[in-house]
């Protein structure tokens, strides 16, 4: 499991993540999403998986943390 994050370059503020998993995603005053601090490891929760699968911009990513090198990789969306 990796660390959850929202790619600010891709997020366009559809707010699907917030609608489906408000305990993990917050929306700023311009409408863009980020992961609530402390919730970076909630990627296995069903609501969060649902948010990942429904984000129209595929902007919710997981940063692999198991290896030494920090590598950002898109979560499987199938």
């Amino acid at each position: 499991m990796g660390e959850l994050w929202v790619d600010g370059g891709r997020c366009q503020g559809h707010a699907r993540c917030w609608a489906l998993a408000p305990e993990t995603f917050e929306i700023d005053e311009e409408g863009y999403a980020h992961v609530i601090p402390g919730r970076e490891n909630s990627g296995d929760e069903p609501n969060v998986r649902k948010a990942i699968r429904n984000c129209p911009e595929r902007a919710i990513l997981e940063r692999e943390t198991d290896d030494a090198g920090e590598k950002a990789e898109e979560v499987s969306t199938s």
């Binding site: 366009q12 503020g13 005053e29 409408g31 649902k50 699968r53 129209p56």
Partner: protein, 397 residues
């Protein structure tokens, strides 16, 4: 030999149209296009390439340098040849204009409007019930609800609301068959906003407290300067057409489906928490905006098909939303479909600014209608889906 043949086009639907009555029974055509020629050329509206696969539409939306919106995202134009702000504006200027209203359309701001929206929906549902056993719910609910809600938010004076429907009909729905009617109505709409802006500017700073969309636009700055009158008019023009009609279409489509599917109606009555999920499915399958145009800024290739710089390209959201590669049983409307990454609001930098408001209105309309009306069905059982026009329902116990 046609250019298309020279360029190796294997499958072509040269009369493909995405407006008006052309949408009746369009879904079989979409499946055919997706399977046999996902990129093709139509001769309509001066000629355009159409892109139907979900993945290709996504990629085009993510690449605004190649797939630009200028001169116009609307094909044909929306009763005016002035570029509409912000949808007809390309980067880098686009973001400056879009930023002005982003805060007004966040889900948090939209949820503040919730109680008012619900009250409006309740009143309109009572009027539906009072109107008798056979009622046009398009005229009684689907159209007035977004008009009232958006007009309040935007700051259009209440006494003006009754004339709005005609402008929408003429600009949006007459523009293919009667472009001159659309342009005439477009000028009326433009003059209307010109007068409204004059009044607002005369009213001065006291009016600023109202915090509506027009006030926000008047206060806004782009690169350290106020918007010009032309820019204000263009922004107002777009907001009017985008804010009112699409939501009416979405509500109408949801009610059309539920009226013809008593089981789905029952399921949502028993489990109202499912309504937001159902709303997404209606947005996917009966999208208010079936397609939007781009212009290729450079020569490019989509799925092997060459597209030349300067050519028009239409992203067919309605087809992408039924792409069997993305959705299981794409033509089935499953109101509990949970994985629903649809394209109904577009994506990339031009994602529909009002998507959070549109969704909220749709959900509230369904919730209140199901609560107020114990049973409803289509007066004409065979009525096909249309996003516009009357929707006559039999209302009863």
């Amino acid at each position: 030999m046609s250019t298309e043949t020279e360029r190796g086009l294997s499958h072509n639907k040269s009369d493909f149209d995405f407006h008006g009555r052309a949408l009746d029974n369009i879904f079989d055509d979409y499946q055919d296009m997706l399977a046999n020629g996902p990129v093709g050329h139509s001769d309509k509206y001066g000629g355009f390439w159409y892109i139907t696969k979900s993945e290709d539409i996504f990629n085009a939306e993510q690449d605004p340098d190649t797939f630009a919106v200028g001169p116009s995202m609307l094909l044909p134009a929306f009763g005016t040849d002035v570029p509409l702000i912000p949808i007809d504006i390309d980067p880098p200027t686009h973001a400056d204009f879009r930023k002005i209203l982003l805060p007004m359309f966040t889900p948090m701001n939209v949820s503040k409007l919730g109680p008012g929206m619900r009250e409006t929906a309740r009143q309109l549902c009572q009027e539906v019930l009072a109107a008798g056993d056979v009622v046009d719910v398009s005229a009684k609910l689907a159209r007035p609800m977004p008009t009232i809600i958006f007009s309040r938010l935007a700051g259009y004076p209440e006494q003006d609301w009754p004339i709005f429907d005609r402008w929408i009909d003429e600009i949006i729905y007459e523009r293919t068959a009667h472009p001159e009617t659309a342009y005439a109505a477009g000028r009326e709409l433009n003059d209307y906003f010109d007068r409204l802006l004059d009044e607002r500017e005369k009213a001065g700073p006291e009016a600023d407290a109202s915090n509506d969309l027009i006030t926000q636009l008047l206060k806004a700055e782009v690169k350290g300067r106020k918007l010009t009158r032309e820019e204000l008019l263009s922004y107002c023009y777009l907001l009017f057409l985008a804010g009112l009609d699409t939501t009416a279409w979405a509500i109408r489509s949801a009610l059309w489906y539920l009226a013809g599917n008593p089981q789905a109606q029952q399921q949502l009555r028993e489990d109202p928490d499912l309504i937001p999920t159902a709303a997404e499915e209606f947005l996917r399958t009966l999208s208010p905006v079936q397609a939007m145009a781009r212009t290729a800024k450079a020569d490019t290739v989509v799925r092997g098909q060459e597209i030349k710089a300067g050519e028009r390209v239409v992203l067919v959201f309605g087809a992408g939303n039924r792409d069997p590669e993305v959705y299981e049983e794409p033509n089935e409307i499953k109101i509990d479909r949970e994985d629903n990454r649809h394209l109904a609001f577009g994506g990339g930098i031009h994602r529909c600014l009002g998507s959070n408001l549109g969704r909220a209105e749709m959900v509230i309309a369904m919730e209140e209608f199901l609560k107020a009306v114990p049973h409803f069905e289509r007066a004409n059982n065979d009525e096909p889906w249309h996003g516009v026009g009357p929707l006559t329902l039999k209302i009863g116990a």
